[in-house]
Structure formats: C-alpha cells, structure tokens
Amino acid sequence: MKLTTRLSLSAALVMSLCGASHAETELVVATVNNGHMIEMQKLSKNFEQANPDIKLKWVTLEEGVLRQRVTTDIATKGGQFDVMTIGMYETPIWGKKGWLQELKTDAKYDADDILPAMRNGLSVDGKMFAVPFYGESSMLMYRKDLADKAGIKVADKPTWTDIKALAAKIHDPKNGVYGICLRGKPGWGDNMAFLTTLVNTNGGQWFDTSWKPQLESQPWKDSINFYVDLLKNYGPPGSSANSFNEILALYNEGKCGMWIDATIAASFITDPKQSKVADKVAFAQAPTAVTPKGANWLWAWALAIPSGSKKVDAASKFVTWATSKEYIELVAKTNGWAHVPTGTRKSTYANPEFQKAAKFAAAEKAAIDSANPSDSTLPKSPYVGVQFAAIPEFQAIGATVGQEMSAALAGKKSVDAALKASQVAAEREMKKAGYYK
C-alpha cells in the first residue's frame, strides 16, 4: 500500500517535471452544447494534430449556464477560460469595456468573406472582438401544401396582414393543424426575441435616445394586441409555454401551418429523419408591417479571447481555425454540406454544393444580409442589437417584460396592464443602473 502510494507520487512528480520542460499550451474552451459546437469538439482533433504544442480542454455547457459562467469569469478577471463562446449580445458590451482581445486576422483567413451584418454585430468602432462560428436570422417557414390548398401564394416578402389572412385560411384545429405557431415562453431570448422584431417592424423601439423605455408607446400596443389576438384565434393551445424546441416538435409533427423563428430551424424541419413534413416546407422573409427595419433578428455564436490572457497566440490560432473556410470544408467532407455551420461566410453560400444541400440557403442569406444591428428601429435608438438592446441591464428587463407578455397571452392580464407593468419594471432597472443622472 505504502509502496504504491510512493511510486505514484514520484511518478506524478516526474510527469509534472516533464510537462514543465516540454512547452505545451493548454487552452480551456468554453462553449454551448449546440450540435454545431459538439461537432467542433470532435473535429478539433485535426487542429491538435496540426499544432502538437497546443492541447484543448473543453467545457461544454447549456446556454444559460454558459452565459453565467463566462460572464462571472470575465467580470471578476477569473481567467478560467482562454477561449469563450459568446453571443452577439455580450460582444459589443464587453468589447466596449475592454474585456476582450481585439482579433486581427491575416489575408488567408479573409475576414472580408464574413457576412457584413455579422462582422458589424461583433465589432465595436470597426474593431472585431469575436469571430462568428455560426449565425442566424429569423424567417417565415410555412407549409406550401396548405397554402396551395387555400389558394394563396405567399410573397417572398409578406406583410403581417397577409400572414393573418393565411393563418385564418389554414387554421383547422379539428384536424390538428393550427394556423400559426409563435414563441410565448417568457425569456429575453425566448418570446422577447420574436416580439421585439414584431415591435421593430411596427415602428417601435425599446428605449428612446434618452434611454427612456417605450413600452407603453402605440407601436408596442399595436404589436402585442395583434400578437395576442393572432395566437388566440389561430395558434395552438399552450402557446405561453412554447419556445423554439417546443414549436419545433409541433412543426415536425405537422401541427403548424406557419412558424416565424430562427433560420437554423430550417435544417431540422427539412430533414426527413425527424420531420413528417420535410418535403412540404417553403420559406419566405419574416413578415413586415410599417417598416422593414428590424423585422428579422440577427444572432451569432462567436469565439472570443478575454483580454489579459497569457495565451493569446495559441488562442488566436484556434479561433481562426474554427471559423475558417477550411473548417467549413472539413465539416462538409466529414458530414456533408447539409451540416456545415451557416450564417457566417459569403463563400459558404456561394458554394454550389451547399446550395444543393440546403433548400433554405437563399432565404437565410437574404434574411441575414437585411439585418443591421446598429440601425434596426424606425425612430433612432441609442442601443445596438435587433431583437435585444446590448446593455447589461437588458437581460433582467427582457425577462420581466417576457413574463408580462406571457401573462397577456394567457389572458391573465389585459395587454395594457401588462405593458404598464413592463414599463414600470424597465424604468426601475434603468434607474437602479444609473442611466438617469
């Protein structure tokens, strides 16, 4: 017993000495447990083979938990992570605070190939602080067979009035088909992501230029009344508990006539392995009302390096590898073009192989190209972001407003009362954060 302990101790000592002499950089990478990221983890073996002096250690977490962990780490200068997966919400905030390393890339990486909307959303004053791993916008996904049966041709850029008329036509709850499915589960990234795009296109905004919340303005009232009425009449029951995954399950079962949500959904609902309606789906741009501005959202999961990191060179090597053209080709070679991370590079969409494999490619690219995070509302706004405001207080405000909206949708509150409560809550948060001095 004693002997083995001694042996293992001395072995450990020897190993640690060896480790010190052989300069090997260990990078800790924090990422989300989405399909694309899990794939990156598998394929990173190739990166380690090409760079034998770098070892990768993965921390894969669920979105909410990841956000808490990386935010706590970066705010307290914890230094646990060398590479962080962050979203379009965090990047401008942290970049402005100087918490992120500016990313300079070479000609081979070809940063100009990145879609401009993504590049702008991940930059502050023209400096890129994170590189997009995959990106998405929102669009309309509808059942072509049902629209044909109703004798309606959906325009490529439909209006909300058209959508309502079509929803009324195809709504058939007796046979288990609901006109339109939309998010209703409370959360700043759940129902508020969709509702903010609806408010934008009705000419509304979160805050005016003096940071006063605008939740009781006419555009908000119009939007929320329209949304509650639409889902009450032509939506599935239980909408106030539905977010992306719940609706995806309904859609794949053929229960939804229309759905406006993340473009990433397109690759799932057209996959015959999981969707019963894979061959009946068609795509169009997200519907508009008063203005096309901000009618479809913009989101990216991107890789960033915390400033003050001691391993910037190795970390830069990794983030450029994971977001390069070569990586996308590697995924295509391994799993096929239908499974590559989309929404990041022009070259991906220009590839004929990809166009063949992804029916939704053209609609997705048009949606991403039409989004502009720095100009997404009709009246001027002081914040960046399409379906969110990139300020630290937004998560809490979005969560509270999201709850009020779900109450309005469930019929527990009138729309006006819910908006009033939202306005009070938003003003409280902004006051506490010291916006009104």
Partner: protein
Amino acid sequence: MNRFIPRALMAPAVVTLFLWMIVPLVMTIYFSVIRYNLMQPDQSGFIGLENFEYFVTDPSFGTAVMNTLLLLGSVILITVVLGTLIALLIDEPFPGRGLVRILLISPFFVMPTVNALLWKHMMMNPIYGVLAQVWIFFGGTPVDWLTDFPLFSVIIIVSWQWLPFATLIFITSLQSMNREQLEASRMDGANYLQQLRYLYLPHMARSVAVVVMIEMIFLLSVFAEIYTTTGGGPGDASTNVAFLIFKQALLNFDAGVASAGALFAVVLANIAAVFLIRMVGKNLDK
C-alpha cells in the same frame, strides 16, 4: 475540569463547522450592503439597505413569497398523506411486492429537469400530451395545464418527484412496527381504523417529522421545475422566491441584490422552520 477535556477535544470540529457556516454568511451580509454588480465594476461602495429595498419592492415579491409557501405546504401535505397511504398499502406481503416497490420509488431517481420536461411534454401538453388524449377520448376540451393552472401544475410535478421519498421513509418505518403489539390489539378486538389511529400513526410520527423537515429544506429552493416548464409565468403566477432571486440577480449579475435576496430567503426558511418544528415537535413529545 472533567468537563473541560471533552470540550477541548471537540473544539476543533465545532470551530470548523462554525467557520464553515459563518464565513459565507458574513460575506453574503457584506455583499448585500454594497453596490456590487459584476457588469459594472466601476460602480461600488456602501449603499446601506438599498439592495433589500430593491428586492422587496419588486412588484412580484408578494406573489413570490405566497407561491413559495403554497408550493411548500401543498407538496408536503400531498406527499405525506399519499405516502402514508401507499406505504400502508404495500406493507403487507403480496406477490410482486418487490417490483411494485421499485416502480414506486423510481420517480425519485429522475433528475428534476428531466422530470419537468416529461410532465411538460408527455403529460400536460394540450395537443399531444397523455392528459389531453384522455380528455379528448371522453369528448372534453383538453386542459391547458401550464397556462391555466401554472402553480398547480408545478405542485403536481414536484409532488410526483417527492412522493417516492416520503413512501420510502414510511415503508422503512413500518418495517419496524412491533408485530406482537398489532397481534395483541387484534386479540382485543381493535378494528383497522383503531389500529391506524393508536398504533400505526404514532409509530410513524417520527418519520413524518423527518420527511417534513427534509422536504422543507429542498422545496424552499425549487427552481429547475419552474425554469423548464413555465419560466415563472404566465406573468408571475408560478414565480417563487428562488426564481425571483434568479431573475433579479443572475440575469443581472447583481451580486448585491442577489445577496439581499438570499438573506431574505434564509429568514423565510427560518420562519417556516420554526412553525413546522413547533407543529412536528408537539407530535414528537406525546
């Protein structure tokens, strides 16, 4: 002198335990009176009770406290009553008893999040859930559980999860019933209800107390079930104190308000504990 030695010998353990408790508590109290937001490291300083004021004046605060107590009370009541009945039911030997017991205990090994998802999709979904299918089979309109009865749905979900725990404790308690006493009471002509009243229930009192205490500790901080099913909504209909702290603090990265909320939760837990211990303690003294 003879008292001093055992005390001195126990001191290291006692001091360690005390530090284990007091250091985090003092830190929490300290954080709760300063301005400490992770996202705004430039703003700091002593602000007195502002964090508490901010937490308590939240419009959802009253609802959250009520919901916490309702959830706690209902789940404890349901699990203790049903747990007792089930334990009595499977106390007598019958063929296949082992299998039935395993089935009864299995829900306890399902993770809270998974349990919530099971109920949300398989059981309570108003379109394809099992309960909706039952309603449709009998020609009714399916109940939209999570929209119309959010808190009640959460109570059902959590009760389902904790019922096996209560049952398990009660079964073990019944194992130690004095069979001779039961025999004697039967000889004296006591019927089952009288046996229940004078033999079974008094015998189980201690385990009931244990179940109530342990469940209370865990149920005050129910979070995963609410987060995955209703997200605290619709409105704040299913928000409890734990969820309110999450919403206010973790989404805001405001450690100051979070600490104030946590201290409030500690106070609430103590109030609930005092009442419960009183109630249970009375039973134990008999």
